[in-house]
């Protein structure tokens, strides 16, 4: 261990797991430090990563700070992500796509509620891939954007319409078991 300040290590770790740019203000709250001190540390980390020629660099982009890969690694990265193996959705993306497909039109908030975690990052990926799209606005107070699956989604899945999606009834065995139990053991027995 060097005498590198611990805050640099913690900043690096937090930015590592963040799935979108983190505003300086959020980091200030997290570390209970004034924003200008956080900014100093971030600049320190940025220089350090650049000076040491690391594969990970720190970028100050719209909306905050995020870690990214070093530009000269791009050729390897493209080959790496182009591999067949990576041609599948992450578990989180698959789950989010499934929720959108079966519960559309659905808002970000509703997706997050079902999954128990924020799904903004994966939703953005699905939007950028063109399989999910905005389909309207919630008429309620928040006017939340509502999402649905696209025509491209249907084509890729080999479906003519959403009604051809397999029924969920058979796949949720527990609900069925409960219903059977209810009807088998009616009141009064």
């Amino acid at each position: 261990m060097t005498d590198r300040p611990a805050i640099l290590r913690h900043l690096e770790a937090v930015l590592f797991v963040a799935d979108e740019p983190v505003p300086t203000a959020d980091l200030a709250v997290l570390f209970e430090l004034p924003a200008h001190r956080i900014t100093e540390h971030l600049h320190g980390l940025q220089e350090e990563l650049a000076r040491e020629g690391r594969g990970i660099v720190l970028r100050n982009v719209a909306g905050g700070w995020r870690l990214a890969t070093s530009p000269d690694s791009a050729p390897y990265l493209e080959r790496f992500v182009g591999e067949q193996r990576h041609g599948r959705l992450s578990q989180a993306a698959l789950e989010t796509l499934a929720i959108v497909a079966y519960r559309q039109p659905v808002s970000r908030g509703q997706i997050a509620e079902i999954r128990g975690v924020s799904s903004d990052g994966v939703l953005r990926t699905l939007l950028s891939r063109g399989v999910v799209e905005e389909v309207g606005r919630d008429p309620g107070p928040g006017q939340a954007i509502l999402y649905g699956t696209s025509q491209l989604f249907l084509e890729r899945m080999g479906l003519d319409s959403l009604s051809e999606l397999p029924s969920l009834a058979d796949l949720m065995p527990d609900t069925r078991a409960v219903e059977r139990m209810e009807s088998g053991l009616g009141p009064g027995l």
């Binding site: 067949q84 959705l89 796509l97 890729r156 009064g188």
Partner: protein, 247 residues
């Protein structure tokens, strides 16, 4: 000596039995089946619903324990009659299950420690950077509608309900002892009935379970005779005029 147990801390009948028989100097003969059963019913009622599979697992276990207990209370026999042999085989099977279960319980606690030792390592779960997205192959290529449906079913099924601390809640609508008394009175009056009839006034599933256990108690004390013509058929319950003295 009877032994009081708090059932809500156990994961099921096997876990409970493992706990009971692992105690020094405690064996089946010391366990008050009715106390254990009452405790079980109280715990189930407090959880708001009876998991039928767990309940039936528990009933099978309670019945086996009753049998083992009667064996234990009998004066030692020298000859091996077939019934005794069956019972001993049953005991060996139960012992085997307990050993297997105990092994996995230890494995579970090892896994639990490994998981918490490694819980400080967080990996990145962020999606591919946008600039790299064009290089990635078509993500839907290998996805079938069935896989999508399975993912949806998984996501939309509510997760395991959190464990509820029930130490302060509900009393059971009727205890096993009360049910035994109630059924005794009714059978003395009616002489012959069926399990279905006896349960016809039950207001909750838990009462049906209690009634079944009460009938087993009465059967054990030879106060009733039971008959069932076929599996899942009507169970007739007959009051024995000459019930032996309660032991």
């Amino acid at each position: 000596m009877t032994y009081a147990v708090k059932l809500d801390v156990f994961e099921g009948p096997l876990d409970l039995l493992l706990h009971l028989v692992s105690k020094e100097r405690l064996n089946v003969a010391d366990i008050s089946i009715s106390e254990v059963t009452d405790e079980y019913l109280r715990a189930s009622a407090a959880m708001g619903e009876v998991d039928l599979e767990t309940a039936s697992g528990f009933l099978v276990l309670a019945a086996t324990l009753l049998e083992l207990k009667s064996l234990k209370l009998l004066p030692s026999r020298t000859t091996v009659d077939p019934e005794l042999k069956l019972l001993l085989e049953e005991r060996d099977r139960l012992l085997h299950r307990l050993v297997v279960y105990a092994t996995f319980k230890t494995a579970a606690s090892r896994l639990g420690s490994s998981l918490s030792e490694n819980s400080g390592f967080h990996s990145r779960s962020a999606e591919l950077p946008e600039e790299l997205a064009p290089a990635a192959p078509d993500v839907l290529r290998n996805l079938t509608p069935e896989q999508l449906a399975r993912a949806a079913a998984r996501a939309l099924t509510p997760p395991e309900p959190p464990k509820v601390d029930i130490s302060h809640v509900t009393r059971v609508t009727v205890s096993l002892d009360e049910m035994v008394q109630r059924l005794k009175a009714r059978l003395e009056r009616e002489q012959l009935s069926s399990f279905r009839q006896l349960c016809s006034t039950a207001r909750a599933r838990i009462e049906v379970v209690t009634a079944l256990l009460a009938i087993l108690e009465l059967f054990k004390s030879q106060s009733v005779e039971l008959e069932q013509d076929q599996p899942f058929g009507e169970i007739s319950v007959a009051w024995r005029q000459t019930a032996p003295e309660a032991s």
